[in-house]
């Protein structure tokens, strides 16, 4: 079968005599990879870089004729991030946590991340106006306000991190369940998630709400994860997803403390297998030294107390919080090994690959450069067994992996690494190779007819590590795992057309003056701030 590309799009036919021809026979051709959740830009990532000179020291890339130099293993510099993703055949990245106040910084770094198209999600689960609107039951006003934020920050989707908990963290506390009240706001996490889910529907946003659950990283939190999915069950329509639980591995712990901590993957998989309104991503853990960074301040503080490592914690004014702690996941730690097992159990026990996607929550579970290794774990029982034999005894005994025989096919890998992610993100041009799609193509040098991935997993890993070709927007940017051309990608954002005007009222302007360090007039990104914007026009129902 031939694939024709013209003007950066996949087309029906092209004059072969005039075109450049790439012979991909005996190779696997996939759409360019899509990463739904990777921290690659913004204040948290950059503070992580500042915090960890030793992370740069251990991984250095020299400049070449076409690429710039760069450093960093778990938090590489922006250019290097783009190159490394491109070498693995990825072409679209989603940066999941942007405090609206830091939108400028985030977009500036995203613009310096070459080779890929990107977008970023503003953090809205603890944004004061959202909390106030939802408390007063003003869903439509809240929707108009969210539409304004999307335009003001050039955002793509609604990101909710530990709803209510981050606001409480500003006062030194946290919320422990979906029905705890957020101090000073008289609202519960359940109301925030349900409210923003309704807002998401009213605005017709391409992606669902993107939720990092309450109680993340605590034993017994799988109950919270299931309750979070349940709480928007009645809002679902025609089997369409309306909630995305991100890095689900960190929300799937069973047990009452760290000594009894075990996997809750089975229960979560059971729920997801019976319900169609949920999508997940893995948040797989890799045994390595990495840098954890989330907007979940209280969780990061807990991690600091556990590890005793250096740490950063931050309260972003009225919007959100953040924290960074370097962390080493160890094979011989029962908890870390169980975490490793949970991620894979989730992916293997959830029957429909369109519901779960491959991520490491880069860099929280491990750097994105480990995706090829995860692919081999998914495709080969032998590869899994090899690692299981090396992990902590108790974790090995409790792991469900030994009893799971499922092995992913290349088609399923294509779904969990690109097609599924593009679908749930509403990026219709990505994750597919139909006529009219963006010409983002990854070609891997492995013959699916000759190579049995369950046995020759090392060969598969090598192939996915270094794409034979990566084509971005119709141009060959990677050949044999080396960058041959650098391109700068587009930045997607949602331009929501509402009938209500996209402005905040005088009361809110007054609050901006009183509580923010940035004045309302200076707050939104102006037209022309992004050099390569790709607004997606959407008509809202308000």
């Amino acid at each position: 079968m031939d694939l024709a590309i013209n003007n950066g799009k996949i087309v029906e036919k092209i004059n072969e005599n005039k075109a450049k021809v790439i012979d991909a026979s005996g190779m696997i051709v996939m759409p360019g990879g899509v990463d739904i959740h990777c921290h690659i830009a913004g204040t948290d990532v950059n503070t992580g870089r500042l915090l960890r000179p030793e992370d740069h020291f251990r991984d250095v890339e020299a400049k070449t004729a076409v690429t710039r130099s760069g450093v960093g293993y778990s938090i590489p510099s922006t250019f290097t991030t783009g190159y490394r993703y491109s070498r693995m055949g990825y072409t679209t990245l989603m940066n999941p946590s942007m405090p609206p106040l830091e939108a400028r910084h985030t977009h500036e770094e995203l613009e310096d991340t070459p080779m890929v198209d990107k977008a970023t999600y503003p953090l809205l689960g603890d944004w004061w106006f959202v909390l106030e609107h939802l408390r007063d039951g003003l869903i439509e006003e809240c929707a108009a306000h969210v539409a304004w934020i999307m335009a003001a920050t050039r955002g793509y989707a609604i990101k909710i991190v530990n709803p209510g908990g981050l606001e409480a963290w500003g006062f030194g506390s946290n919320v422990k369940s979906l029905d705890d009240t957020v101090p000073h706001f008289n609202i519960t996490p359940r109301e925030i998630i349900r409210g923003l889910c309704k807002v998401n529907k009213l605005l017709n946003l391409p992606h669902t709400i993107h939720v990092h659950t309450n109680n993340l990283g605590k034993p017994g939190n799988y109950v919270t994860a299931i309750e979070t999915m349940k709480c928007v069950e009645d809002l679902a329509e025609e089997n369409r997803p309306n909630i995305h639980i991100t890095h689900c591995q960190f929300s799937a712990f069973k047990g009452s403390d760290w000594q009894t901590m075990s996997s809750g993957a089975e229960e979560i998989a059971k729920y997801v297998n019976h319900h169609n309104h949920v999508t997940l991503d893995m948040g797989q853990v890799i045994f390595t030294n990495t840098t954890t960074m989330t907007a979940d301040g209280p969780f990061q503080y807990g991690l600091y107390q556990l590890s005793g490592n250096k740490w950063v914690n931050h309260d972003v004014e009225t919007e959100t919080s953040g924290g960074i702690v370097p962390f080493t996941y160890r094979r011989k730690s029962a908890v870390n090994a169980t975490q490793w097992s949970i991620g894979l159990e989730l992916a293997l026990l959830i029957k429909n690959p369109w519901k779960i996607y491959l991520t490491t929550d880069h860099p929280n579970g491990g750097p994105f450069t480990s995706y090829p290794t995860i692919i081999t774990w998914l495709m080969s029982q032998a590869a899994r067994k090899k690692t299981i034999n090396k992990i902590h005894k108790r974790a090995r005994r409790n792991s469900l992996l030994t009893s799971i025989e499922r092995e992913f096919s290349f088609y399923e890998i294509a779904i969990v690494t690109r097609a599924g992610q593009a679908k749930t993100l509403g990026l219709t041009q990505k994750g597919q190779l139909g006529v009219g799609a963006d010409a983002d193509v990854a070609i891997y040098n492995v013959n699916h007819k000759l190579v049995d991935p369950s046995k020759k997993y090392k060969k598969v890993r090598r192939a996915f590590k270094k794409a034979a070709y990566t084509i971005k927007g119709g141009e060959v940017v990677v050949k044999d795992g080396e960058i041959v051309k650098t391109v700068s990608g587009k930045t997607f954002w949602v331009d929501v057309k509402t009938s209500l005007p996209l402005e905040v009222n005088d009361d809110l302007k007054r609050k901006f003056r009183e509580y923010w360090t940035v004045e309302y007039e200076n707050y939104p990104l102006r037209k022309g701030f992004l050099h390569n914007p790709a607004p997606i026009s959407i008509k809202a129902e308000v």
């Binding site: 960890r52 000179p53 030793e54 992370d55 020291f57 490592n309």
Partner: protein
Amino acid sequence: MVIILHPKRLFKVPVEAESISPDAFDEKSVNEIGMLQVWEGKRKRILGELFKIEHKTDDASEKTTIRISGDVSKVRRIGTKMSMGKIIIDGNIGMHLGEEMEGGLITVTGNADSWVGGTMKSGTIEIKGDAGDYVGAAYRGSTKGMNGGTIIVNGNAGNEVGCFMRKGLIKVYGNVGQFAGIHMRKGTIFVQGHSEGRAGAQMRKGKIIVCGNIPSILPSFTVESIKPKVKIDEEKVAGPFYMFVGDRAEGGEGKLYVSQKQNQHLSFYNKYL
């Protein structure tokens, strides 16, 4: 074999010379050694451009010995990751001497700059003169310091000697600056001379011996007893010494021995014994 390097000129900008190590020189001819790569500032050079290289075989030793005579105080990272052989430096030497060293011997007749034996794993470094800051320390931001081997400084050493040290022995026969043994995890630091204070800050385990004067002990250390002598490997140092344990702020169990005779101002600790 013995290789002698003479700098051809005075270096004005730092020279990064990871390739000057017995492992890199081993079984190479003078011409081949001359082709090894070094950086002078931002410029890529070959060793032969910067040094006159002399080959002597009359030495009976089988292992490669490198002798550097001349001013190399701007040359960094000599002996990085070396695992065997000998480097002898007649004069002063620049930063990061013997970084990540895995074996062998380095001798410096003059002074050494900072980061001597940073993150070294094994082997011996001996400095006849003074050493700069961060002797046997971890790389910036890292928690993995010196992990074995011996560093001997006959002169003075600077601040943060043995930062994040995990194993091994550092002996300073002169004085040390502030924060000797900061973040120390294990291992031994022996100071014959005085300390500028704050010794053992945030240490968790290990041993620091100060035979000279120390202005004060950190408040997060508790006095345990008076010891007549302290053992360092096979050797015994006569005291008496106050033994402090800390850093309690880190839940540490490290031991800080301070000479009783040299520190009369610490006599108020006697009432806590």
